[in-house]
């Protein structure tokens, strides 16, 4: 009887996982469909014969500068992550270690910044970029995405700093550490997973973001991968199979990064939150 219950449980779980992943299966299916079998009725559930040529074709299409897009996405995501790290480390360290007047206000601000209507902020950012002649540049997107990602990055990193015991720093101080630098070196070395997670959080979120790029970028070669793929959906005649192939190529690095970091992500948020 118990064995039967176990079997049923396993069956239910596997079926649910299968159903849950159906859209992913269909993504792969679509990317491997040949041109004629995309818009058919009844829809083809299995793309056979698989058109692997799709994955080759997307790189040579001149209207789809995938390499430019990927490079731009990397610049924007990397730039945002770097900027966030540089700014967030001292801020989060302060929040974690010190008590000072205005700390509560600052913390509330970090939370409030999450709720702000970002499009409202974007209106003026757009105007600023327009006047500074920075529209259609990657720098503008980096700044906009930083505005979006920075408050949460600070908050998350504070949680990570909280997990490093203050005693370690105090011990180093009493041991006659001559400068704050030495303490920082100790703490930061323990913080490497936290730093990595925060940087990856900023990177992944910026890579997938479309709000800032769609507003601030125009030309095809300056375009970021996310919006570039979307623009392929704008055409009067959408070529779904190569669209999906491009989309999956653009996603692959992110999915990998994600699966690697998600464990630490949860740990970071719950550690900081549950503690304080």
């Amino acid at each position: 009887m118990k064995a039967l219950r176990k079997v049923i449980l396993h069956a239910i779980v596997y079926v649910i996982v299968g159903l849950d992943l159906l859209p992913v299966y269909f993504m792969l299916n679509l990317s491997l469909s040949s041109n004629g079998s995309v818009l058919t009725y009844p829809p083809k559930l299995i793309a056979l014969p698989a058109e692997f040529a799709n994955y080759v074709q997307i790189w040579v299409d001149p209207t789809r500068p995938l390499l430019y897009w990927l490079r731009n996405s990397a610049i924007v995501a990397g730039g945002t992550a770097a900027l966030c790290l540089i700014v967030a480390i001292p801020a989060a360290y302060t929040l974690s270690r010190f008590r000072f007047r205005g700390k509560r206000l600052y913390s509330y601000w970090l939370l409030a910044a999450q709720l702000l209507p970002f499009p409202l902020v974007l209106i003026t950012l757009y105007m600023i970029m327009l006047q500074l002649n920075l529209l259609d540049t990657l720098v503008s997107v980096i700044l906009a995405d930083t505005a979006f990602v920075l408050p949460f990055s600070i908050w998350m990193m504070k949680g990570f700093f909280d997990t490093v015991p203050v005693e370690l720093e105090e011990a180093a101080l009493t041991d006659g550490a001559d400068r704050l630098n030495v303490i920082v070196r100790i703490t930061l070395r323990l913080m490497i997973p936290g730093l990595a997670v925060t940087a990856l959080y900023a990177f992944v979120n910026t890579w997938g973001d479309i709000l800032a790029p769609v507003t601030l970028l125009r030309s095809n070669t300056n375009m970021v991968a996310s919006v570039g793929i979307l623009m392929l959906q704008e055409q009067t005649k959408i070529v779904w199979n190569t669209l999906m192939a491009s989309a999956l190529v653009v996603s692959a690095p992110i999915v990998v990064l994600f699966v690697l970091l998600q464990k630490y992500f949860v740990k970071g948020i719950t550690a900081g939150a549950v503690k304080g």
């Binding site: 449980l9 396993h10 239910i12 779980v13 596997y14 649910i16 996982v17 992943l21 859209p23 992913v24 269909f26 993504m27 679509l30 058919t40 559930l45 540089i86 700014v87 967030a88 001292p90 801020a91 360290y93 302060t94 409030a112 702000l116 209507p117 970002f118 499009p119 409202l120 902020v121 974007l122 209106i123 003026t124 757009y126 105007m127 600023i128 327009l130 006047q131 700044l143 906009a144 930083t146 505005a147 920075l150 997938g208 973001d209 479309i210 709000l211 769609v214 507003t215 793929i229 979307l230 989309a247 999956l248 996603s251 992110i254 994600f258 699966v259 949860v266 948020i269 719950t270 939150a273």
Partner: protein, 292 residues
């Protein structure tokens, strides 16, 4: 270490956030009281509350509020319930549990714009697989033409279709947290509940839920915050249509600003949205403080 050292360390963050968040925010609020012409930026004229009158007398703002409420409510509730159910299912000893958990994360790992492009395709009438599968499964049972449902082009159901796709994408997020929470519940609690004669349902209600309270609050709060400001699903699947039925509040602000280039009205809508959010957070923190 001087007294002002903490403040010193905060300066970079304050500078950056001031520059790209605070200043633009205040400037946009100012713009809500102006009539802004992008061609002659220096000639923006002060028009008092007329932008607000315009926004509040139209119907877009209110249908946007309704859409936001429906969208956030259903997406958050749906994601949470699915995540909880999955967490309970998967938390047991199952062959391949680790692989299962890894597989379940995938919908959230895939960049959102890709997922929603795919859902847009699945929702395509006639050619999309969703209609077809439903047609096979449910067709014989009812009179509805399952293969021809206008998932995303029918104003009365579009928002629910969007919700389904969003639930699919967001459930893993909640699932991660709930699983982590479930694993911290000591087994003795379940055992002592069993000894007191509790069945599965009772032990869920009296052991699982109370132990998860803190995590549940965190998860639901995060879900609400993230889903409230959704842009990607709306933009990719419906662009706010059909007939504005999926144009949630923040999307509506963007739409007026960057599709209609009506910066003054957009800013007014944005400020009103800000007030809505502000009211809710005040109420929320009052509730949260009451409990303590």
């Amino acid at each position: 270490m001087s007294r002002s050292f903490p403040y010193f360390l905060l300066v970079p963050s304050l500078m950056v956030m001031g520059l790209v968040i605070l200043y633009p925010l205040f400037n946009s609020i100012l713009m809500s009281f102006q009539s802004v012409n992008l061609g002659y930026l220096a000639h923006s004229t002060f028009v008092g509350f007329s932008n607000y009158y315009y926004v509040l007398s139209g119907h877009e703002f209110y249908s946007s509020l309704i859409a936001t409420t429906i969208f956030t409510g259903i997406s958050v509730a749906g994601s949470f319930v699915c995540a909880l159910a999955l967490a309970l299912l998967v938390n047991r000893e199952i062959v391949g549990a680790r692989i299962v958990k890894g597989l379940l994360i995938i919908p959230w790992a895939i960049p959102w714009f890709v997922s929603y492009i795919e859902w847009g395709f699945l929702y395509t009438p006639i050619f999309g697989q969703l209609d077809y599968l439903l047609h096979i499964l449910l067709g014989p049972l009812s009179n509805i033409a399952w293969s021809n449902i206008a998932w995303l082009s029918d104003p009365s159901i579009a928002i629910y279709s969007v919700c389904i796709a969003v639930i699919w994408t967001s459930t893993p997020f909640a699932l991660m947290f709930l699983l982590a929470g479930l694993q911290t519940i000591p087994l003795e609690r379940y055992e002592s509940a069993k000894m007191d004669g509790a069945g599965m349902l009772a032990s869920f209600w009296y052991v699982t839920l109370p132990s998860l309270r803190k995590i549940i609050v965190i998860v639901v709060t995060f879900l609400v915050i993230f889903l409230w400001e959704s842009f990607t699903p709306i933009f990719v699947m419906t662009r706010g249509g059909p007939a504005g039925s999926t144009s949630i509040l923040y999307f509506e602000v963007w739409r007026q600003a960057f599709l209609y280039y009506d910066f003054g009205d957009a800013a007014a809508t944005g400020v009103l949205a800000l007030l809505v959010v502000f009211t809710f957070s005040v109420l929320y923190s009052r509730e949260a403080l009451k409990e303590e």
